[in-house]
């Protein structure tokens, strides 16, 4: 198997390809926590996140041959997890605001940007959790899962520009929440 991306876990992945159970468990141990947090940020529910993780790991091991090594294994696996989680929450009918609704969104975002504002993890997490679902998904996928706007557009089935505008709006709204609702001034 030719590997374009030199994955540090490739030896374990190769053993997984042979169906070795111990290797599958090692991969699970390496990635379960990060994948579970990604799934949870989308589903907002432990049980849903576990269901997503179960389906995703089973699917990943089953289709491991389709991992061509062109990206990090973690990125490949996360794409599976995020897709499964998105499919689950799609049942809740995600609503994304269109870019046309607020043409001056980027300008507004810049207005709220303040250089003297500092953050704490728990506050930011709480602020994110208070965001509307569309904002929350875009900002977590971008900031925490490392997706670029092209990938976000793909998994959420929106345009890349919508992803960008949603992200800017989300950041603005988050700062407002931190300042006003959570009385967080940094």
């Amino acid at each position: 198997m030719s590997t374009a991306y030199q994955n540090i876990h490739q030896p374990i992945i190769d053993r997984c390809l042979l169906g070795e159970r111990q290797a599958q468990y090692e991969i699970y141990q390496l990635y379960a926590k990060a994948m579970f947090n990604s799934a949870y940020r989308i589903t907002r529910n432990d049980q849903d996140a576990e269901d997503v993780l179960q389906d995703s790991f089973v699917s990943a091991f089953k289709n491991l041959k389709s991992y061509k090594g062109t990206a990090a294994f973690g990125s490949w696996l996360k794409r599976i997890v995020v897709n499964n989680a998105i499919n689950l929450v799609k049942k809740r009918r995600l609503q994304f605001e269109s870019v046309e609704d607020s043409p001056d969104v980027d300008a507004l975002t810049n207005e709220v940007e303040d250089a003297d504002m500092s953050y704490e993890v728990d506050m930011v997490k709480e602020g994110i959790s208070k965001l509307p679902e569309g904002y929350r998904l875009v900002i977590t996928l971008y900031l925490l899962d490392g997706f670029d706007h092209k990938e976000i557009a793909s998994v959420l089935e929106i345009t890349e520009s919508t992803s960008k505008s949603q992200y800017n709006r989300a950041k603005k709204r988050l700062r407002e929440i931190l300042k006003n609702e959570l009385k967080y001034a940094g």
Binding site: A32, F36, Y40, L53, Q54, V58, E113
Partner: protein
């Protein structure tokens, strides 16, 4: 791309702290169970395939054996059919001889009632035996042995009629010749 703002920098620097949740302890066993179920399902598929192949092989062998048996049976039947054909040919051959000879005998016996009655009784007895044997031969046992016996009976009929014709012929021979014949 624009430079990172404070929020982005903060998240990037504290990325690990955002992943503070852990999946339940039992999650791996559920995944493992699912994976093994698939393996079992795959194994079951192989078993099914193996069973199908085995059944196919057994069917083929049975069919093959049956074909061989059928072939043997067909050969036997063919032999039996040929026996019947042979019998029918020979029967018509002998029957035509017998008919000719009977016509001749009838002509000869018109003037000799005693002899006729005697021959007629023998021929009837032979005919009864012959028709029973013929029925057996045609209905259930077209064997070589029965064929031989049937043909033998037909020849006996001919022999009987011939003998009778000989006797009548002898009686017609002048007295002088009779003596000569006897002396022979």
């Amino acid at each position: 791309m624009q430079g990172k703002d404070n929020l982005e920098k903060f998240v990037a620097e504290n990325r690990e702290a955002f992943d503070d949740r852990m999946p339940g302890e039992e999650l791996w066993s559920s995944i493992d169970k699912d994976l093994r179920t698939q393996v079992v399902a795959k194994t079951a598929w192989y078993w099914k395939a193996a069973v199908v192949v085995l059944l196919g092989a057994v069917s083929f062998l049975l069919f093959d054996k049956y074909s061989v048996e059928n072939q043997t049976l067909a050969e036997l039947e063919s032999a039996e059919v040929s026996n019947i054909d042979k019998f029918e040919d020979l029967e018509s051959f002998y029957t035509s001889i017998i008919s000719q000879k009977q016509v001749k005998l009838n002509e000869e016996l018109e003037n000799n009632d005693e002899v006729y009655n005697y021959v007629e009784a023998d021929l009837e007895e032979l005919n009864e035996l012959y028709s029973d044997l013929k029925e057996l031969f045609l209905e259930s046992q077209p064997s070589d042995e029965l064929l031989d016996r049937l043909l033998h009976l037909l020849r006996q009929k001919i022999h009987l009629i011939n003998s009778q014709l000989d006797i009548i012929g002898t009686e017609k021979v002048p007295e002088s010749m009779k003596e000569t014949n006897y002396s022979i």
